[in-house]
Symmetry: C3
Subunit: 139 residues, 3 copies
Amino acid sequence: MKVHHQTIEVSTTGKGTYSITEAVRDAVKQSKIHNGTVTIFVQHTSCSLVIMENADPDARTDLHAYFDKLVPENEPYFIHTYEGPDDMPSHIRMVLTGCSEVVPLINGDLALGTWQGLFLFEHRVASHHRRVLVTVMGN
Amino acid sequence: MKVHHQTIEVSTTGKGTYSITEAVRDAVKQSKIHNGTVTIFVQHTSCSLVIMENADPDARTDLHAYFDKLVPENEPYFIHTYEGPDDMPSHIRMVLTGCSEVVPLINGDLALGTWQGLFLFEHRVASHHRRVLVTVMGN
Amino acid sequence: MKVHHQTIEVSTTGKGTYSITEAVRDAVKQSKIHNGTVTIFVQHTSCSLVIMENADPDARTDLHAYFDKLVPENEPYFIHTYEGPDDMPSHIRMVLTGCSEVVPLINGDLALGTWQGLFLFEHRVASHHRRVLVTVMGN
């Protein structure tokens, strides 16, 4: 059994989803592991990791709009506000969407469905440098 | 260390939750692996995998009703609409609930709590044929 | 490859988030495993496991308030109500936030980001005794 850890760095320029499927596939190839699991883990509390429809970018536009509505800025009861109005919503959006995924690794490739893509979901307005850990484990 | 992959096929007939606990337990038995983890992964972007109360079906009825309210159809700002009004809500509901779970495998069985069941959560109205991957890894 | 299972017991005294980061770190140390993954799994359907900002407790106060608003008690359409008004919302909040996380294990430690903490998110008003399974797998 082998374990391979690799860090992917993602530069984000505002709220939205950033595809990391190819970067994760590259990490899997470098691991030379063929069967097992791939754990993808975002080391932050104001962005998330999601699996989402990868074909029509309109679907992601609607997803972003929905989350802006679901977790609004400037809720009168928010007290964690010193980092700006997008700070507290970013933590809540992260909790609602999660920061990790585990994808089966079969015959050397991520076993994603046809329409599934891996995306870093950035919840902050300012540019950020994000770290995503990929852990490949198996034979 | 051994790795065992198996595919479960689920035929869905409209929105709702479909129990897959027994099918996953069968895959675990066939793996002959006794200690490790079981990764359950749905290969789609319009249904999800959830762990939910397995005793009273009313709890799942309320869950379905809640999600219909939380992510309504026909939001005026939706632009990803060509596959019908249940399409975009299905992607959002999937992002909110996730498409994978990892359950500890102890002494040959899924270490679920007494009231936990594994369910495929279908978000589309039309009938679908769904694929769920089960990856058992351990000793 | 080694597998180490350990149970953490958490006594909760009402709704809110309870830090379990140190208890999980202790389980990891006892496993003597250095590289792989750590799966943390809550065996209940009315509390969840979340990764959340660990520095400012105000962020968690806002998170609790947000969930009270997002999933209200006493929705007129709820039919699963015999265990009290906090029962059905607890199941929905669990589905929205999930009951497991997988964190990479690198050089003997959980690879959490600087501001990430592991919390049991209790959704019931009454005191409960909760069980969290930690499965460490790797070399």
